[in-house]
Structure formats: structure tokens, C-alpha cells
Symmetry: C2
Subunit: 233 residues, 2 copies
DNA sequence: TGACATTAGTCGCATTTGGTGACTTATTCG
DNA sequence: CGAATAAGTCACCAAATGCGACTAATGTCA
């Protein structure tokens, strides 16, 4: 990616102590997730890439700030924006601020090409060095997207509005990091009443054409289950 | 609770714009959770109670700040302190700050009596009016404690180091808001290798004495399960 | 054209997990 | 002693899940 320029946005105009809002923009690429980073003017430090961020202004909610940062970095609005957590450990942040709030933003597969020369997608297991706090925020966002998989429509926000069930399953496999059995996946999906078929089909070269579905969650009985002790340390 | 005094701690000395750290201290009382509130000088507003909070200082991590606030309010250290989320919507906070970070702190049943006259426990469905952002933080903390039940040892931190299985089940019932079947609960608990028996027994008046257990999580195979679509909106 | 590769989608069974009522055990109370 | 009470266990049945094997619909290539 030749001829990148630097990002001027709001890096110097605010007090060093103001909290920042940082956005982890994720999209599926190939069989892995990628994160959007911006090139920054490498002053004295060697770090040249950073998560999009901005100092918090008093006149905006942090959610609005995060959505605006994501839109500016991407050129269009992401499909989902959710808070991850606040980071106020001692780790270093480009701003020098003691406190940052991390947000997660999801973008559908395929849609976005890296916008300007100052912005690029990086596969998440091949990111360049980041400031320590931004690295922690990236890890936190990845952890969040995985754990929220069954309580938030995360996977559906990583796909276009219509998609095949194989594509959906692939997203789950990417996020969970393991293969899933086709029949079991579909049985659970249909039992949950989360998708409905469209009347379109997609022929992807070889093989039988796949029916396209859309995300359309239906009311369903709250499963009066017992307790799970699955993931306690 | 007669003769309460006001809490002087750090309310006026910091800039109005500095972020705050607010702590939701919870403990089981009777068959419900209670939250610790502090009486504040009712200046012009009618709100007289508030979550313990303090403006963020530059020399401390937010986790340390939260732990210290909890310790000061309680008189002793809580069993668990976890971040809930950052709150930077427009809602009003006693500090006037645009940003607050909420923490959750858990205290074992029975242990703590309300410390000074400025501090009291309130059953969570009978709290006095709070500033809107603190009300949102309380709701967020309650939601967090319920959803983290199966991924964090939340329930065990609401009990003393040794406890009976009936007591543990009662905590789960309080947090989940429904009754559980004894045999199923114990089967799942033992399968998860989370507790080990001590050689002590507790005789609680009538009935057969109960064996005391302690929280002692063991390594266990990561359950190679399929996907759950349980709670997606 | 017809065999084959490839991908979608389904079926049915074996096994595991979970809900539940009824049971046994150990204690206090009268 | 027997009734009451609470702890702890058992065994059965139903529901959920893992999984191999199947059918279906398309493109490729000899």
C-alpha cells in the first residue's frame, strides 16, 4: 500500500489529560478477522500505527463519539458499535491520557476497501506494534466479540443483510476458532428462530446453489434452563 | 438508622470535568441483594443518597481507585472488584463530570454491618432516588452480576470461604430470580469441579446437618460444545 | 453426454445432558 | 417414641446434541 499520508485528526488540540475514545473496527477477511489501523506521524516513537481515537468532548455522549470516529475512519457507518470497557491501568496511550474507553465496531464482509492511504486493514494475528493500552484494547475487543457471540447479534453484523448459512457458519468458526458440524449448527440456528429465508439463491461457481437468508429474530420462549458452570475460572 | 452524618470525601476538591469512579457494593441480605449507599449533604437537590464515588486521580489505576473507594466505604476489603462499564451518556452525575466508570464490588453474606452513620445497605428493589447516571450504573451492575454468573465466580464471592451447598444454591436463586432443582444443581456443580468438601458440618437447628464446602476450582477439559443462540435479541 | 468433483441441505440414530419426583439419612422437637 | 425438617441421592424419562451418512443441485472435463 504505497504513498500513505498521516492522520491529522484532533491529536494535538486537546488537553493531555482528557479521556479518549478508541475504536476497534473489525471485519472478516479471508478466514480471519482484520482490524482497521491508521498511520500516525512517527515523531520520536517507533510506533507508526494506531487504533482510531479521539479525545472526549463535553458535548457528545461517548457512544456518539465512538460512532463518529468509526464513520470518519471508515468512510461509512459500521453495522454495530458497542462499548468494550474503560482502560485506566497505567499503560501508555498515544494521547498521554490516563483513561480511555474502548469501543467495538463491526463491518460487513466484503463491503469496505481501505479508504485513504492513512488507513489499512491488518489481520488480527499480524498487527504492527501498538501503544500498550491500545494493544490491550484490541485484545479486549476480540475477547468481547467472542464472548458476546451468543448474547448479541455480533456474527450477523459481520455479514451483509443477506447471506448463506455456510457464510454464517464460517463467521462462527472464525470467531470461535474451531470447526462446527453443519447439521448441528443449522438445527440450533433454526430452533432459535433467528433467520428467515429469502427467495434468492446464490450460485458460487461449483456446487449446489445456496439459499440466501436474512437476520430476522422472532419472539421465542425464554428457555427455562438450569444453571451452567461452564466458564468459571 | 438514626443520626447519620454526611460524607466529606473528595467531593469538592477536584475539577468538575474529571472522570469519576463509582462503586456498586453488593451483599446478600435475607433473600435479596442489598447495595451500599452513602448519605450526602442535600444541598439544593432532593437526592440524599449516592453510590460511593471519587474523582479519578492521575497517579492510580482505575481498578486501584475502585478498590480503595470500596474499602473506605465498607471499612474492609470486598471479596471481588470488577469493572462494569463506562457511562458517558448525557445523564446527570453528582460530580457534574461527563464520564464515570462503574465498578462492581461483592461482599460475603453476613459479614458486614453498615459502618458509620453515613452509610447504609438498601435492598435493591427499594433504593432511594439516585442521580440518573448512578441509577443507570446500579442497573448495569445488577445486570452484570447476573450475566457473569456463569463465567466469573460471582456467586462464591457473595459467600464466606466455607458454605453449604444449600447456601450456594440460594445465592444462585437470588441472582437468577427463580427456583432451582436441588438434584440438578448439585449434579452440574459437581461435574464442574468447582468446590471441594471440608471435614466440617453445620447443624442449623432442625434437620440433617450440612457439609461445608470451599471454592476450589480444578482444571477441567474445555467443553468442546457446539454453538448456543440462547440470548440473541 | 456422462462420470466426477464440489457445495448445499437433510435424516436418523446413539449418546449425553437435564428435569423431576421420590427416596434415604440425620438431626431437633415434643 | 414418632412427626417435622432439612440434607443429600437415585433412577427414570425427555430433550438436546454429536455425528456419519445420505440426497440434491450445480460446474468441469474427458
Amino acid at each position: 500500500m504505497p504513498n500513505r499520508t498521516s492522520v491529522p485528526a484532533g491529536r494535538t488540540s486537546t488537553r493531555r489529560t482528557a479521556p479518549t475514545v478508541d475504536v476497534v473496527l473489525l471485519t472478516p477477511q479471508g478466514r480471519r478477522l482484520s482490524v482497521l489501523l491508521q498511520r500516525v506521524e512517527g515523531g520520536k516513537s517507533k510506533e507508526r500505527w494506531a487504533l482510531p481515537w479521539e479525545a472526549l468532548r463535553g458535548d457528545e455522549t461517548i457512544e456518539d463519539t465512538a460512532a463518529r470516529i468509526a464513520r470518519d475512519a471508515l468512510g461509512s457507518a459500521p453495522n454495530l458499535v458497542e462499548q468494550v470497557a474503560a482502560y485506566g491501568d497505567g499503560r501508555r496511550h498515544p494521547s498521554g491520557s490516563p483513561l480511555s474507553v474502548a469501543f467495538l465496531a463491526l463491518v460487513a464482509a466484503g463491503a469496505p476497501a481501505p479508504v485513504g492511504g492513512a488507513t489499512a486493514w491488518f489481520a488480527i494475528d499480524d498487527v504492527p506494534p501498538l501503544a500498550p493500552r491500545q494493544k490491550a484494547m484490541l485484545d479486549g475487543a476480540l475477547h468481547a466479540v467472542r464472548t458476546r457471540l451468543e448474547h448479541s447479534p455480533v456474527a450477523f453484523r459481520l455479514l451483509p443483510t443477506t447471506f448463506t448459512l455456510s457464510e454464517l457458519q464460517e463467521i462462527y468458526e472464525i470467531l470461535l476458532g474451531r470447526r462446527l458440524h453443519k447439521a448441528s449448527f443449522r438445527r440450533a440456528l433454526h430452533a432459535a428462530w433467528l433467520v428467515e429465508p429469502t427467495d434468492e439463491w446464490r450460485s458460487e461457481g461449483r456446487g449446489r446453489p445456496a439459499q440466501l437468508f436474512r437476520y430476522a429474530p422472532r419472539k421465542r420462549r425464554s428457555s427455562r434452563r438450569g444453571v451452567r458452570f461452564e466458564g468459571i475460572e
